[in-house]
Symmetry: C2
Subunit: 730 residues, 2 copies
Amino acid sequence: MNLAALLTSAGINIALCVVLFSLYSILRKQPSNVNVYFGRRVASRRRIRLDLGLERFVPSPSWILKAWETTEDELVAIGGLDAVVFVRILVFSIRVFSVAAIICAVLVLPVNYYGQEMEHKKIPLESLEVFTIENVKEGSKWLWAHCLALHIITCAACSLLYFEFKSITNMRLFHIIGSPPKPSHFAILVRAIPWCPEECYSATLKKFFSYYHITNYLSHQMVYKSGTVQKLKDEAEHISNVMKSNSLVETCKSSFKGCCFCGGPTNFKILSKDIYGIHGKAGYSDMHLKARKKECAAAFVFFRTRYGALTAAQILQTSNPMLWVTDPAPEPQDVYWSNLCIPYRQLWFRRIAILVASMAFVLVFLIPVTFVQGLTQLDQLQQMFPFLTGILQKQFVSELVTGYLPSVILVLFLYAVPPVMMLFSKVEGPISRSGRKKSACCKVLYFYIWNVFFVNVLTGSVLRQLTFFSSVRELPTQLAKAVPAQATFFMTYVLSSGWATLACELMQFFPLFCNLLSRFILRLKDDSQNGTLTFPYHTEVPRILLFVFLGFTCSSLAPLILPFLLVYFFLAYLVYKNQFLNVYITKYDSGGRYWPIVHNTTVFSLVFTQVIALGVFGIKRSTVASGFTIPLIICTLLFHEYCRQRFLPVFKNSSAQMLIDMDRKDEHSGNMEEIYEQLHSAYCQFIVPSQCPSECSSHHEEKDPEKLETGNEPEQTNGSWAKQSPGEII
Amino acid sequence: MNLAALLTSAGINIALCVVLFSLYSILRKQPSNVNVYFGRRVASRRRIRLDLGLERFVPSPSWILKAWETTEDELVAIGGLDAVVFVRILVFSIRVFSVAAIICAVLVLPVNYYGQEMEHKKIPLESLEVFTIENVKEGSKWLWAHCLALHIITCAACSLLYFEFKSITNMRLFHIIGSPPKPSHFAILVRAIPWCPEECYSATLKKFFSYYHITNYLSHQMVYKSGTVQKLKDEAEHISNVMKSNSLVETCKSSFKGCCFCGGPTNFKILSKDIYGIHGKAGYSDMHLKARKKECAAAFVFFRTRYGALTAAQILQTSNPMLWVTDPAPEPQDVYWSNLCIPYRQLWFRRIAILVASMAFVLVFLIPVTFVQGLTQLDQLQQMFPFLTGILQKQFVSELVTGYLPSVILVLFLYAVPPVMMLFSKVEGPISRSGRKKSACCKVLYFYIWNVFFVNVLTGSVLRQLTFFSSVRELPTQLAKAVPAQATFFMTYVLSSGWATLACELMQFFPLFCNLLSRFILRLKDDSQNGTLTFPYHTEVPRILLFVFLGFTCSSLAPLILPFLLVYFFLAYLVYKNQFLNVYITKYDSGGRYWPIVHNTTVFSLVFTQVIALGVFGIKRSTVASGFTIPLIICTLLFHEYCRQRFLPVFKNSSAQMLIDMDRKDEHSGNMEEIYEQLHSAYCQFIVPSQCPSECSSHHEEKDPEKLETGNEPEQTNGSWAKQSPGEII
């Protein structure tokens, strides 16, 4: 592939992007698309001004200006800390790759281009390999340029990483201190409550906590089973009860059900719409629902102080670590209710099973990727399908096949990955939605890096020969041979996958299609079908990190990738900021917990780059450059360990000092009683329509929890203390 | 090597053992050796009855009977929980290898022996390889016998491991609950106290804890610097102060030194003998010592309740995890004072440096081991040293060289390892002596398993060819070829290293030699030079575990090793019990924390055995046996994970329930005030002779901390609340 082919590919993509961006700026002005492009504003009931003149059919860059001007504080208010962390990844990438691009343009590119004594063609016809380190001859004295570039890039990346980590840590702390009192600070989640035959879980729990945490224990709220099977069973029971009419009151065993609801001052008023409609008697339906809900061995326990909750959550409660398992409670809207009923004893087994399943998934996925990779090698393709020979020998088709098609197919295959990983993460049994998304994010990240990078690099040259496991010691050398050779593929990947996904993200094709379908074909008027979406961190964070990884790995070896990456990151900065502002709503927030993942991946990328460079310097027989690279690897690892020690614990646990200060402040200002009152209603598994704030009253449809797995979850309410039932059926 | 050679080797070792054991039973009856063989009783001032008649020159098995009859409760009282754990390892080994021996004798040995159609010689002349799995022909249907044996051994091992873990966990809990109140339960160690320019550490600490832990904070005690350099500096200062005579009082800056000792009601009376002697004025020397000791950024903080101390120790104190680092306090006699002054910021770096150093040490150690291994291969030895050819061709020399010499040299080399690892563990900066020993134990264990097993197996066949890193996927196959071939070496290793070290352990050659030297040559009368020893867990636990590892790996492949191992474990059971009873004193106890190491290593051994078996079944082309081995590996790993979840947290942290129950009990019985009073004097870094209990008054010599590194540490006192200065100079 020569430079002209690459520029053709870039041209196609630029044209595509310009068209789609213009189309977007028109479509967003149409009143019929307001649900698609302004979902967040619709959800928060803000008025959206739309010009209805002819201007709405003219493309305009106003959204770009708006996105550019949005400050970090506005972003925190709109998208929570996670949105800021996401934008920070992009800012970090722009900064570090700008440095890399300058350094590489000055130092590395000339050395590569004049690396061998050869007659240069005109630059557009020059093969791309001339610009990579492959063109530098063995034993060249100019390899110090690559080594120096590597050092400068590493230093820039590490110092930027350090300051980013520090600033995000401070932001997280400030966010916790500055936010209004949260119920999650006063609550813990207790699982694996031991079963006593003579009393129910609620009574056991009350006894335990009022004995061992007497000064801090406030109240508790049990978690109830409400799976599909349970629902059907209960429905049947209900019908049989209706048949028996009022005799139900006597048959109900008071010894059991009475004691099940003695758990402190939690006042449930859980009503079922249809029953309420039939009978109209609150007493009857209350009683019925009591019979309907069954306790799980899990509960939320509320404490008088934040510090009390923190200690109870972190300390081993009894000498059997499989009983009375305590965890900090997630925010009410973040709780993954259906997972709370999973018996705690299953969890370790589930985690291992999912680990194995994920690994199996990664291995099976090799097959399509290997096939896709085959498409980039025309001669092998011609061998496999001889009838294609005629077509493939045409100039244009050959450029299309080698430059564009493989990445498109790969992208299509990769679309299936996030939902599968989300399902895996659900089965693992996390207690919060943000935890599930974070876990899926890690899985998708491993998947991307393994399947996009390693498999392409390692099987690229040797199709179907999967013997890359065979040699561990020669891995750096193998990679050093394969990575510069595969740089072309990664460049086209950035162009096609990177730029195109940004345009798709902006266009929101699928919601747009659904919207058109419902409006103009099905003629529906009900807007509530188009539930607004939460930001899919589990697909976007790994995608950005994959490009960061590709950028570092290729930077000093094949620096031509850097301009394309910089354009990508800059576009991403604008597009995602716009999406945070207009499209996605923030239902739950992990409080910046994505940053440690970003930090780890970046350091891994750096070390990996250095190892590859070491291999390259070994192949090119430059002992000086190799000698200077080894201390760099050690220093990078030490830097990572220091950051882990210095910042990571803050992302895992809250500190005593902070919580005690907050407690004292609330005690002095006399807010505590008010907080306690709100606590009782904060964690409400089943919603009563009358108790719900008016703004969310139209959202009480039945939601199937399975629908939520892609991360594009329908929003119900937006208030932090509102009573919600994510994924639960009323 | 044939069976006769092996039996010759066994004969030599049996004779040696019998001679040494008899010698021991005579030597222990001599009054002059009482310090060597009854160190524990001497230390605890018990009367030792010795016959002075002629009987004392006749060997007798009385010590064996005594050791056999000692119950577990007596052992807990004498040697603490660690001693019981150690004996439990031996009991577990005896049980599991008895099962293995029976199964292998019935199932595996006949299959191996008649594995190939060959003419059998007389059994003593039979090569040892006839008894290993190498003798079974490819594709044999009888390999199910090996597979079944593997299953039975795994099941037996896992169920025994489970019950042992359970029983040791219960024992640990019972030990904590049942023991008298310990100061360590009420104390935490705080490190990295932030430096305020306007006030000293003590004041900063008091301010912090009396604000944030107001209900629980009782008092604190600073840690002071007292290194050698500091000592010399202080001595110079002292002399100059003496010159200036009484003018010292005025020159002392009251603003600094006054506030340094305001740290709660701790009443130091730290006296220096010589100064006390010169001046005879308590006031003066008190003041002088205050000037002499400099505060570190570390302190022990005491709490009103055990639960208060637990929460303070486990919770992140401030939002900077590098400040106010809290840990549960070790027992007073377990504190490693000189490590407490290490700046906390260094620790992560030290840990990494030591990790790298340990790995480097393991690699350098390859050279002597490779040489030793060369000795077992006569033809290669003859090539290297042609002048030896004549000698080596003699039958006896050849048997000696192949059967005995290599292991003796290996043992001698291995003697250098534990002190080096102990030094490494010290530099890591653990806060307790037991922690240091545990860390050294792990290092020595990795070292043994790597250097004795892997290096022997992998370099055994290909001398000096260290390419065992090259192939990961073929590792099971390579091991499957090498392990049965090296089984002979391991048998002789058990005989020489195992049995001989037991005899050496019993004889205590080095202390015996020192005793003889001082008594009969130097004519010293002072017994106190022979400080009693603590049990060297860091050498003995890894040794036993290495034999367990060898036992499992060879069990179903080369079962002839099992009888030798069983004899070893049985002798070890008697010898070590005897040593616990008579020789070693218990100065500090890790509370059974060695068991998780034992558990992990045993499970690793099991899985490793299964992987090797898988490789062997692969080579022998038995798909059925391979197919049944894979689920076995998975089940073993699941079992391990379950045990980790179920028992491990108890070994890391105490539970709230237990500590609160203990607190309530003490509160009800009114013991708390008494405990508080004792707390103040428990953690005393520098000892005043007059405050010390009379029984230990003779032990206040200067002890160099470096002397203690081999784990054979001189004992000072035995009481749990006594004031001691391990490793500190008065």
